[in-house]
Symmetry: C2
């Protein structure tokens, strides 16, 4: 089993990567001594599909398990749902040594991590991510959040899990669209930090798409290693290092917000965002034309969008200026400087952003 250790002093934790690792969850968790009673937050589909395997593995190691199912959508991240769940957990948790388990994608991970951060001033939790996006990105690094009416992810916490169990075998349960959405984040890692991965993705489209075991493990290990290194150096996004992970997310988030989070998946929105950011970089003469083309071509190779329709430019610009990451700057962009290297620029003239977005609006 491949183990990547995310080193954060007393908050360090292992990320286990192996086909079939969920059937070893009991052993892996018993070793960590984080509690005797697992509260597993998931959705009903995943509970049906993987619940028994995980439960059996935990039971064998003397860990009890209790499932709570969340809606399979951003609704699960509402404050109402969150409070409702805390209420249930507190009634179940009578003299138990509970820890939480997030079994799901980014939504379940964010919700579970946030509850773990505030329930009784913090309880341990572990991540068992089930989507590619969660396996390579959102399950690692301890960013948790829920949505308020006024904005998505407005409240949250940095609360590191005690372990992440990545089982690439779970990806078979994904729809093609979900898989592509995750591949958008993989492409992001390649562009910001990993030229080798970029070329691998370019040359192994078929293997990746049919979830060839070796190809998926290679991709996951490389992405997770990058994420772990970045988080180790800048856990709470205070030093500008973790910022590079937001490549494609500035315009991507604005498109998601303007479109109401339904029309485009997160991966699709950040694909458009990466295309726009790369073009901004080209306009600012930070990257050469042939690199711009290579990046656009890779996004398109994975059938991810670089253009969009049906959203007014002003709506996107309004969302963009309200981005909670902009403190004392008008805007902040992560821009590719080469394949595998990015630079951060603040206060890019609005006219450049507008023109770029317009060019990607069909």
């Amino acid at each position: 089993m491949k183990i990547i250790k995310l080193k954060l002093k007393s908050k360090s934790y292992p990320i286990y990567i192996q086909q079939g690792s969920i059937t070893k969850a009991g052993n892996l968790l018993a070793r960590l001594k984080i509690g005797k009673d697992a509260v597993i937050i998931t959705n009903s589909y995943l509970k049906r599909k993987f619940g028994i395997q995980i439960q059996n593995s935990l039971t064998r190691c003397g860990i009890s398990s209790k499932f709570y199912t969340a809606p399979d959508s951003e609704k699960a991240k509402s404050i109402q749902y969150c409070l409702n769940l805390i209420d249930k957990i507190s009634k179940y948790d009578n003299k138990k040594q509970i820890f939480l388990v997030a079994l799901g994608g980014g939504v379940v991970g964010d919700l579970t991590g946030f509850i773990a951060s505030i329930y009784k001033r913090g309880v341990p939790y572990i991540q068992i991510p089930t989507t590619l996006l969660a396996q390579v990105d959102s399950s690692i690094g301890g960013k948790t959040a829920i949505d308020l009416k006024v904005a998505k992810n407005l409240v949250g916490a940095f609360h590191q899990p005690k372990a992440v169990i990545v089982d690439p075998g779970l990806l078979k349960s994904l729809s093609e669209r979900q898989l592509r959405s995750g591949l958008a984040e993989v492409i992001k890692y390649a562009i910001i930090k990993d030229k080798f991965l970029f070329n691998f993705l370019k040359n192994n489209y078929k293997k990746v798409f049919c979830l060839n075991k070796k190809a998926v493990e290679l991709i996951e290990e490389r992405c997770i290693a990058i994420k772990a290194q970045v988080v180790e150096r800048d856990e709470q996004e205070k030093k500008g290092i973790r910022t590079i992970l937001n490549f494609g997310h500035t315009i991507g988030h604005a498109i998601e917000a303007a479109a109401g989070y339904h029309k485009y998946s997160h991966g699709e929105a950040i694909s458009i965002g990466m295309a726009c950011a790369t073009e901004i970089s080209y306009n600012l003469k930070l990257i050469k034309e042939n690199k711009l083309k290579q990046i656009i071509n890779l996004i398109r190779l994975y059938k991810l969008p670089t253009q969009f329709k049906g959203i007014a430019l002003n709506k996107i610009m309004n969302s963009l200026v309200r981005d909670k990451k902009f403190i004392q700057v008008r805007n902040k962009f992560v821009l590719p400087a080469a394949i595998g290297r990015v630079t951060i620029k603040n206060n890019i003239p609005e006219i450049i952003i507008r023109k770029t977005i317009l060019r990607h609006l069909i």
Copy 2:
């Protein structure tokens, strides 16, 4: 100015203690470089009484200030009020470098600290405690929380402030009952850790009660030094060290919960709790009769209750068994072993607890 530094590596912070220190808030905070825009959470009485002084001091140092007033009761710690405030702050916080300021007692401190811990995954905050209880205890150590319907302080976080500004001059605004409530926590510190303070309290009742400057500063410095040392050694109450601060709180909290948080102030409830815990200690032969008497006498000297009425024993016992601090134990008590020294005991037979509480029920 007396400065006690609470040492927690990157989370270390100064506690400033001086009569009139609120008028220096601007200088003290500008030095810390935590932001340019203070969001001050307080109640309308304190805003009227001290708001202008603090605002002027901040303005002189180039820090803007915005006040939000919270209800002057536990209501301010409801999730509704908390969300309402986050909503307002997020609308105000447009490209600002905000930090929060808790200007108030324990309720305002808990609420402000909790919002600071979750808003945008954590923003800096500082404490300007205005009650004796908050100055010697709740403002220090980073425990924050709000109440859910199912239980008080059920959700919260450990989120350390960036500074605590203790101005003993503010205590003149307290009612006698509020002052006595704070003195209950002072007596707690004396019993658990400070025989000198115990004797000082015994011999200087009048000075303490009329808020003699030197007496108050001595009391505050000693209590704060103890609190800081305990928090340094066990920030998140995981090693059983911070537990000693709960002396009197096990039965105290149960009485508060059973009485509905109106009848007895926190200090009154823990006074009864300290009396009960000391008697349990005596029953278990952990402390001698003359020490028991000394402790009871000191509590009574400060006109704090050691007995109560009008609450059913079963209601108290029901609250007690649900205490969220009891994990895999039936109960946990901090018991005096001498003046200035306590010991922790788990699973004390229920019959002893019941009998002791009954003896304190008039």
